[in-house]
Symmetry: C2
Subunit: 419 residues, 2 copies
């Protein structure tokens, strides 16, 4: 039994001039990994028939499965369908079920008359299997050659995701028997990549050769991921769990979670488990903490609301930070964030409140308050804790570091209170 390899080909000029960031590849890679498929490579190429042909030739050399996205839309720069038809030696025909789907969408969802180029979306090469796209007008197209599979999907992310979930996974599982990939991931905060590596050096050097370790640093946090591939699922899980437990013990002091979860979900889950609620008072992060918390479904269980007190007027008027504190200590000060946190807690009657105020750059620094200076406070009914941080990055990264540091302060506070 051989390992199954996949290549991902994303098509579109917009990917090559950098106007669009490719999130499709990451999604496809994640989903294939879950069922034991290893990704050989990801390639992004232009809407150009010659490049598509070259990329397919290369991908067929190394991979059993080729997944493509993009270039199936109704406009003139969409040439993938015709290029594949030529590559696999077919001719275009009208596909009645697709025409019905397109017609249905125009009549009942878009509520607009169809035009000629919409009808053309129902034309497909006669040598492929058409996979229905319930989320859009362009279906996915599956070609087979030398026991290998090539599937082209539209590039619109939610259409692509639907097709992966409803067609691709089961097709691969049916057509290609695969092994298993196990990943175990933990998240650390408060320790840099090289110090983490030093801390776990001895364990890492003695890792069995079939288990790989990856360091995934992001905004002051490092995720560590163990991966292993094999055909005996039980044995695989046992081996990787043994090493994962050793790793957890080594990084205990810095461990945020031993699951592959983002920090905001770890914090939301902690609040939910302890039946506690949160409110936010944000200045420099401009709503990003509230936005991160509410990105997850069911946030209303644990999140009451927030104040984005960007101006001093808002800090004083809504959060009742005394004018005196703002004038003498300033908006970025221990006193101000403590008032923000305490008063936000009282205003929204929650169990916890986080408050942040800082100078994100590129402007706003003063003689005694440098760029990247941030005050963060966490309050509950008994106390308020405030800490000062100094970040050294650009605006976007300073904002992200502040969000993560604030959520991690809250996480530690809840754990200290309830565990």
């Amino acid at each position: 039994m051989n390992k199954i390899y996949a290549s991902i080909i994303t098509i579109g000029d917009e990917l090559l001039i950098g106007q669009v960031i490719d999130t499709n590849s990451a999604y496809i890679a994640q989903e294939l990994n879950k069922i034991g498929i290893l990704i050989k490579q990801r390639v992004a190429i232009a809407d150009n028939e010659k490049n598509i042909k070259t990329a397919l030739d290369e991908a067929f050399k190394t991979s059993n499965i080729i997944l493509m996205t993009g270039g199936l839309g109704p406009t003139n720069d969409d040439i993938t369908k015709q290029a594949l038809c030529n590559y696999f030696g077919g001719k275009m025909i009208m596909h009645t079920p697709t025409l019905q789907q397109v017609t249905y969408l125009f009549e009942h969802v878009f509520k607009k008359p169809m035009i000629e180029r919409n009808v053309q979306q129902a034309e497909v090469p006669d040598n492929c299997i058409v996979l229905k796209n319930e989320k859009g007008t362009a279906p996915a197209l599956m070609f087979e050659k030398d026991n290998k599979i090539c599937i082209a999907m539209p590039g619109v992310p939610y259409e692509m995701k639907w097709i992966v979930q409803h067609h691709i996974i089961s097709i691969i599982q049916e057509k290609l028997i695969t092994g298993f990939v196990e990943h175990r991931t933990l998240l650390t905060a408060g320790i840099g990549e090289s110090f983490l590596a030093e801390l776990i050096k001895e364990w890492e050097n003695n890792l069995p050769s079939d288990i790989q370790l990856a360091y995934l640093p992001k905004y002051g946090m490092v995720r560590l991921r163990l991966s292993s591939y094999g055909f005996d699922k039980t044995q695989l899980q046992q081996n990787i769990s043994t090493e994962f437990e050793k790793l957890k013990a080594l990084v205990k002091e810095y461990l945020v979670t031993d699951k592959d979860l983002p920090l905001e979900l770890v914090v939301s889950n902690l609040l939910r488990e302890n039946n506690k609620t949160l409110a936010t008072a944000e200045s420099c992060t401009g709503g990003s903490i509230a936005s991160a918390i509410t990105a997850n479904a069911g946030a209303s269980d644990i999140f009451s609301g927030g104040i984005v007190s960007y101006s001093n007027y808002a800090k004083n008027k809504i959060l009742h930070v005394p004018e005196e504190a703002l004038n003498t200590k300033g908006a970025v000060s221990k006193e101000t964030v403590e008032y923000m946190a305490k008063n936000c807690l009282a205003l929204l009657h929650t169990d916890y409140a986080i408050a942040v105020s800082g100078i994100m750059g590129p402007t706003g620094a003063t003689h005694d308050k440098p760029l990247g200076l941030v005050w963060i406070a966490v309050a509950n009914k008994e106390k308020v804790i405030a800490k000062q941080y100094q970040f050294k990055y650009d605006r976007e990264r300073n904002i992200q570091h502040t969000v993560i540091t604030a959520l991690n302060m809250l996480r530690k506070c809840i754990i200290a209170d309830y565990q």
Copy 2:
């Protein structure tokens, strides 16, 4: 004079299992495009010497410049440096200026003792030119072969960006004489991709063959981009401007901006030009509108603050939405968003306020209020306008569509008031 082509190779297992989204490639592509370099392809591969060699062989066939990111860090999974040393036939030596930079960072910035693996970061192949990385410990490495250039950079985005800005662009401009690429981009809202294509069909069919058009749809908006490549910059700009003006006239009704700007910046600029201020009252978007506005430097000129009134308690307590309206009409209703917008405007004394309330899913729908139902209101001192929308996507997309629709409503309102 020939066209100059580049390939981008990103290295890291994390890109192939989809745990990290590749934003570096998009950034590099944008910056190279600005100086007239065309991207041949982008490839993501694993931390594996054989794959690096294959990708380099392929890239050297088609490209004059190869830019690589990733795998230069201090941990054991970082193998790019050694792989390049082997590929170009060198040996590793200690690089004194890099050692000084690493030592400086540990002494003055990280304020931690150096460990052996940090010292190793100062080792480089003896057959490359070392490009200083002021933002981190791993320098970039430049190799030359057959009049072609290969540069490896660290994968940490802000380090990579600094190296591109401070080294790569000038190296390319000095070493390889290039032509020019001109892009002109406009943003439309309120019309789907295929209808837009129909609207401009005749013009598109008559476009000169050296000007390319791309459709870039995202969250209910479509960007249209014209591109052209050549060596006579004045002529190029003239040709593309002529076509761009025709295009603008055709899409006038749907035009948001004729610059390559995101909607939130268009709205911020409009407010700034008219010396007006904004406040936000967000329920279902959880702070995402405020966060989008404040992501841009200088937001404090135009943004006073916002309320994330996620719970009914917050809507009533802070924004004074009457309990009766919440009980009889509901949180997602015309009445509620009108109160939210008007009272937010009054609370923060701004010129405009936006309010949103909706059901983002996957739960929360009722018999008469389906998933994706959203009410949006825009208020100024004279009036409040409320509109109902029905989105049909998942939670993340519904939130993004709501943010964009609200900002576009505000944009139209400001234009109607002041232009």
